[in-house]
C-alpha cells in the first residue's frame, strides 16, 4: 500500500497536499513544471476518485459526459510523477509542532511543507426534513451518483437555488426526463451573474424546456413520511407544496476550514492567506475555495488557477509572486442557452450602458462603461463576442472610437473577422466550455506543429465540447499557418447536411441530442425529415450513443431491419434462424423442415455462415413462421441487419485430431454475448481451433485462432468485393480475455466507425496502431469499452422475432395488408 509512515532522511523535501481536487492538483502541476523532482509529494483525497473536473459535473449529470471524460489526472499521472496518492481517506488532524498529519485510519505522514486545498462544503439549509433520504447536495461525483439513483423519466425533482450550480443541476435532471421545479429565494435567477433583463430571458428559456421556475420563493420544509421517510415534496413559506422524488440543495458553498481551524491556523470565513498564499504558519500554504484572501472567498476556477501559480512560485521559491484578484467571467453550461457575464454588470450612477436587444432571436447584450472604460458585460443568446468583451474589460484601456460599434462585436469593430481574431490578446478566451485562451491554442499550434482542428482539440480541448468556437479555432490555424492551412472538409453525410459523419456523432454526444428531430434541429438539417441515407445512420448513432434511452425509430430503418427478414428481388423474404457457433440439433432441423412444408417455402439453402436460409417466404407468413421456429427454440439470426451476424467455428479440440482449443465452445460463448448488437455495418466473427484455420477466421471482422499457448486475435477482415485479410491485434491466453477484447473491439467500432463502414475500411482509416492503443495497451480503456458494450447489450438482447410474432398491434400490423379490396 501507499504508506509513508517512515520519514526517510533524504535530499528531497516532503510536500503533503490535503485535498485531491482541482486547486490542489493544479498547484502540484505548477510545482512539477517549475521544479520537477524537488519534492517527495503525498496527496490525501477524501473522495476515492482521482482528480476530476468538478465544473463538468453538470454534463456528467446530464449524461453528456462519462466519468472517464472528466478525469483531469489519471492514476497513471500520479504514478508517472511519483506522487503518493492516498484517495478515499480524509485527514483528521495536523500537528504543526511535529509537522505530521493524521488520517481517519490513523495513517501519519510527515511534511516539510503542507498545502491545504480542502475546498468547500455545500451549504445545507437547516430546515425540517433536510436529512431525509432523497434530499441531497450537488458537489461531487458521489452526489451525481446519488441523484442518478433516484432520477428517472416521469419522476419529479425540486432544485433549491436558482444560481449557476442549481440551474445546471436542474438542466441535467430535466435531460434525464424528470419534471423539474426550481425554487429560488431572490426575485430573479442568477442575480449574482445576471441583470434582471437577462435573467428574464433565461427564465423564459428554461420554462420553454419544461422547467417550473418559482422565484421569490422561500423553502419552509422538506416533507415525507414520519421522521426520516424518503422525501415526497417541498413546502414553501407561502404554503405552496411541490411534490418531489428528489430534492437538490444548491444554495451556496462554505469554505472548508475546519481542519485548519482545529490546527490553530488563523481563519475567519476561510483559511486566511497572504498574497503568497501562505497561512499564519509559514510551512503551510492554502489555496482554492477553502481560503480567504483580503476578506474575499473564491468559487470560480479562473482566480484559483492564478492562486495555483502564485502558490507554486512561493512553495518552490521560484519567484516571489503575489495573488492579485482579477475580474472573472461566468458562463452557464446549459446546452442551447448561451450566457456570459463579467465585472460590474449592474450599473450605478457613475456608469452608463450600451444595450442591444433582438427580441426575435432572444438576444440581449449590455455593456457597462465608466469613464470610457468597459467595467461590466452581460450577454444572453449570443456569446460569440464574450471573449473579446472580457478582454477589453480586463485590459481596462480607454475605448475611444471603439465605443461606437463595440456592441456589435469585434467583427464590426475591426471590419474583418480574421483581423479581429488577430488583434485579440493571448489571454482572450476562445473556448468557454474548457476555458482555453488564444495564447494556449497558438502556442500548441506552434510547439506541436498542429495543422487541423481535430489536432487542436486533442491537444488543448478548445472547441471539443459544444463546438460553437470551432470557427475561431479554424481562424487561428489560418492566421498561424497562412496558406499552409488546408481545412479538412469532411464529406457530408448526405445532401441533407453539410456535416460529416464524425461531426454528427460528436454533436449527438456533446449536445445530448436524443432524437432524430433534435439532431436535425440542432445541426440545421436542410430537409424536413432527412432522406433514406441519413435517417438510418442517425437512428444507429442515437441508438449507440444512448442505450436504453433512445427509442428506435422504425420508420428510419431499412426494410430488412424493420421486417426482421431479408427482402428478395420478388418482394418475398428470406428467414435465417440463429445457429449458435454453427451448431444445430435434430429438433431444430425438424422444426425447420416442418416450417418449409407448412408454408410452402420454395427454397432452402445452407449459408456461408453455417446456418440455414429459407428463401421465398411471403410477408404475410413471416409472423407464423417465426412462431413455429420460436417454439423449437430458434431465434432471429439477424442475417438481415447491420448487426452481429454469425460466429463461424470449426469443431476444434472436441473432435479434431489437430485442434488445440475448444473453438466451438468459444464461438458459442462469443455469439451468446454479442448477438443482438447493432453496428455501423454487418459484423461477422469466427473461431478456429488451430492455425490451420478451417473457420476462415482471418477474413472476418473479428477472428480468433487457437494456438498451443492460447488465442490469436485478428481484426478487420472481410470477404466481399475487395477481400481483405485480418491484421493481428494481439495474442491472449484465456477465454475471458478473448471475450473482453472482442467486446471492447466491437464497442470501439460501434462508437467510432461511420455508418455503412465495415471494420476493414475503418481499420485502414484509423490504423491498427490506434486500435491497439485503445484495446491492447490501455487496460482501463478496454475495461470501459467492455463495460459499455455489456451495458448496451442489456437492452439489445431481446429476440425480435418473439416480439414481432406476438400478435396484432401497431408494431406488427406492417406484415399484413391494410385492406383487401379483392
Amino acid at each position: 500500500m501507499l504508506t509513508a509512515m517512515n520519514t526517510i532522511g533524504g535530499v528531497r523535501e516532503k510536500l503533503v497536499v490535503i485535498g485531491n481536487g482541482m486547486a490542489g492538483m493544479r498547484t502540484v502541476e505548477e510545482i512539477l513544471a517549475r521544479a520537477p523532482g524537488m519534492f517527495d509529494i503525498s496527496v490525501f483525497g477524501a473522495e476515492p476518485q482521482p482528480n476530476y473536473d468538478r465544473i463538468m459535473l453538470s454534463p456528467l449529470l446530464a449524461g453528456a459526459k462519462t466519468f472517464d471524460q472528466i478525469v483531469l489526472n489519471s492514476l497513471d499521472w500520479y504514478e508517472a510523477n511519483q506522487i503518493t496518492l492516498i484517495a478515499g481517506e480524509a485527514v483528521v488532524s495536523i500537528d504543526r509542532a511535529a509537522r505530521v498529519v493524521t488520517s481517519e485510519t490513523g495513517r501519519q505522514v510527515t511534511y516539510d511543507k503542507l498545502l491545504l486545498a480542502t475546498g468547500s462544503n455545500p451549504f445545507v439549509l437547516p430546515l425540517p426534513g433536510a436529512t431525509r433520504p432523497g434530499v441531497m447536495t450537488f458537489r461531487s461525483v458521489a452526489d451525481v451518483e446519488r441523484m442518478l439513483g433516484v432520477a428517472a423519466p416521469g419522476k419529479t425533482a425540486v432544485v433549491i437555488g436558482g444560481g449557476l450550480l442549481g440551474l445546471e443541476a436542474a438542466h441535467g435532471l430535466n435531460l434525464r426526463g424528470m419534471a423539474v421545479s426550481v425554487v429560488h429565494l431572490m426575485p430573479t435567477l442568477m442575480e449574482r451573474q445576471l441583470d434582471a433583463s437577462a435573467a428574464h430571458l433565461l427564465e423564459k428559456a428554461l420554462t420553454a424546456r419544461g422547467m417550473a421556475i418559482h422565484t421569490s420563493a422561500n423553502t419552509a420544509s422538506f416533507d415525507g413520511e414520519g421522521e426520516d421517510g424518503h422525501v415526497t415534496g417541498v413546502t414553501l413559506k407561502d404554503g405552496r407544496h411541490i411534490p418531489a422524488d428528489l430534492v437538490v440543495m444548491a444554495v451556496g458553498i462554505r469554505p472548508n476550514a475546519a481542519l485548519a481551524k482545529a490546527a490553530g491556523l488563523a481563519c475567519d470565513r476561510g483559511v486566511q492567506v497572504d498574497d503568497a498564499m501562505r497561512t499564519s504558519d509559514p510551512a503551510i500554504y492554502a489555496i482554492g475555495e477553502c481560503v480567504e484572501h483580503a476578506g474575499q472567498c473564491y468559487g470560480l476556477v479562473a482566480p484559483i488557477w492564478d492562486m495555483a501559480k502564485v502558490a507554486a512560485d512561493n512553495i518552490c521559491a521560484a519567484a516571489a509572486s503575489g495573488f492579485v484578484p482579477a475580474a472573472t467571467g461566468t458562463r452557464l453550461k446549459v446546452s442551447g442557452i448561451e450566457m456570459f457575464s463579467a465585472g460590474q454588470f449592474i450599473g450605478d450612477e457613475t456608469t452608463e450602458d450600451v444595450v442591444l436587444r433582438d427580441a426575435a432571436r432572444g438576444i440581449y447584450k449590455r455593456l457597462v462603461l465608466r469613464e470610457d472604460r468597459l467595467v461590466g458585460v452581460v450577454c444572453f443568446g449570443d456569446t460569440r463576442d464574450a471573449g473579446w468583451y472580457f478582454d477589453l474589460l480586463r485590459n481596462g484601456e480607454a475605448l475611444g472610437a471603439l465605443r461606437e460599434t463595440m456592441i456589435f462585436g469585434p467583427v464590426a469593430a475591426a471590419g474583418d473577422p480574421q483581423e479581429a481574431l488577430g488583434s485579440l490578446a493571448d489571454t482572450a478566451e476562445i473556448c468557454g466550455c474548457n476555458g482555453v485562451k488564444k495564447g494556449a491554442i497558438t502556442a500548441a499550434i506552434a510547439e506541436h506543429g498542429l495543422a487541423t482542428v481535430d489536432a487542436v482539440r486533442a491537444r488543448t480541448k478548445a472547441s471539443a465540447s459544444c463546438g460553437s468556437c470551432t470557427s475561431l479555432v479554424e481562424g487561428l490555424l489560418k492566421l498561424w499557418l497562412g496558406d499552409g492551412y488546408v481545412p479538412i472538409v469532411a464529406k457530408p453525410m448526405c445532401k441533407c447536411t453539410s456535416h460529416g459523419h464524425d461531426e454528427v456523432r460528436r454533436r449527438i454526444r456533446t449536445g445530448a441530442l436524443k432524437s432524430i428531430p433534435a439532431v436535425m434541429q440542432a445541426l440545421e438539417w436542410g430537409t424536413p425529415d432527412g432522406c433514406a441515407a441519413c435517417r438510418p445512420a442517425l437512428n444507429f448513432y442515437l441508438l449507440a450513443a444512448w442505450p436504453g434511452e433512445y427509442v428506435d425509430d422504425q420508420q428510419s430503418r431499412f426494410v430488412n431491419e424493420r421486417m426482421h427478414a431479408n427482402i428478395q428481388k420478388d418482394g418475398t423474404y428470406s428467414v435465417v434462424p440463429r445457429m449458435w457457433g454453427g451448431t444445430t440439433s435434430a429438433r431444430e432441423l425438424r422444426a425447420i423442415a416442418d416450417v418449409v412444408d407448412k408454408f410452402n417455402i420454395p427454397a432452402v439453402k445452407v449459408t456461408g455462415g453455417q446456418r440455414i436460409d429459407m428463401l421465398g417466404v411471403r410477408k404475410e407468413d413471416l409472423q407464423a413462421v417465426w412462431r413455429d421456429l420460436n417454439a423449437a427454440g430458434l431465434v432471429s439470426g439477424h442475417a438481415y441487419g447491420k448487426a452481429l451476424r454469425t460466429v463461424k467455428t470449426c469443431v476444434g479440440s472436441e473432435w479434431c485430431r489437430f485442434g488445440v482449443q475448444d473453438s466451438t465452445a468459444m464461438g458459442i460463448a462469443l455469439e451468446k454475448q454479442t448477438w443482438g448488437s447493432w453496428h455501423p455495418h454487418k459484423v461477422k466473427l469466427a473461431v478456429s481451433g488451430c492455425p490451420r484455420n478451417c473457420a476462415e477466421a482471418t477474413i472476418k471482422d473479428f477472428g480468433v485462432v487457437a494456438t498451443e499457448a492460447g488465442w490469436d486475435l485478428h481484426v478487420g477482415g472481410n470477404g466481399g468485393i475487395k477481400v481483405r485479410a485480418t491484421e493481428l491485434l494481439c495474442k491472449v491466453t484465456t477465454e475471458a480475455e478473448v471475450m473482453e477484447y472482442c467486446c471492447a473491439f466491437l464497442q470501439l467500432y460501434r462508437m467510432e466507425a461511420r455508418y455503412l463502414e465495415r471494420t476493414a475500411p475503418w481499420l485502414e482509416r484509423v490504423g491498427l496502431r490506434y486500435v491497439q492503443e485503445q484495446i491492447v495497451e490501455n487496460a482501463a480503456r478496454r475495461a470501459a469499452l467492455f463495460a459499455d458494450f455489456l451495458y448496451a447489450q442489456t437492452f439489445a438482447q431481446a429476440d425480435p422475432w418473439a416480439a414481432q410474432a406476438a400478435g396484432d398491434n401497431a408494431e406488427t400490423r406492417k406484415y399484413n395488408a391494410m385492406a383487401e379490396l379483392v
Binding site: Q555, R562, A819, E820
Partner: protein, 123 residues
C-alpha cells in the same frame, strides 16, 4: 363538402389514418394489384401502385422522406405526388386518388393513370 359527396361512390374506406405509421406506408390488395398508401410527416396521404418502375420493388417497404419514397431494392427515389422517379432515373408509377375524412383513409380505384390524379388531403 358537396364536391366530396358527389364523388363518394368512387372512394372506398380502407382504414384509419392511424393505421399507417407516420413517415411510413401500408399496402392494400386490390383488383388492380397491390397499392401502397403513404403517410408523410405532415399527415398528407398518397397512393401509388406498389411497384417501383425500375424492377418492381415494393415501394410500401421503402423509407419515406419529404414527399418521396426510396425503393428498398435499388434505392430509386419516387415522388409521391406524381409517381415520377426523381433525380437521374427515368420512370413512373401509376397513382391513385386518396383522401382523409374524419380520420378515415378513402381510396379510389377507378381512373388510375400515370400522372396527377393523386390527391392529398389534410386531416
Amino acid at each position: 363538402m358537396m364536391d366530396g359527396m358527389r364523388r363518394v361512390e368512387n372512394f372506398v374506406d380502407i382504414g384509419a389514418l392511424e393505421d399507417i405509421p407516420r413517415l411510413g406506408a401500408r399496402s392494400v390488395k386490390s383488383p388492380r394489384g397491390d397499392i401502397a398508401v403513404f403517410r408523410t410527416a405532415d399527415d398528407s396521404v398518397y397512393a401509388l401502385q406498389d411497384r417501383c418502375p425500375h424492377k418492381q420493388g415494393p415501394l410500401s417497404q421503402g423509407i419515406v422522406h419529404g414527399n418521396a419514397v426510396t425503393c428498398p431494392l435499388h434505392g430509386w427515389v419516387i415522388g409521391l405526388t406524381d409517381g415520377q422517379a426523381l433525380g437521374l432515373d427515368k420512370g413512373c408509377t401509376p397513382t391513385f386518388a386518396v383522401k382523409v375524412e374524419h380520420g378515415r383513409v378513402l381510396l379510389a380505384l377507378g381512373g388510375a393513370a400515370p400522372g396527377n390524379l393523386a390527391q392529398s388531403a389534410q386531416l
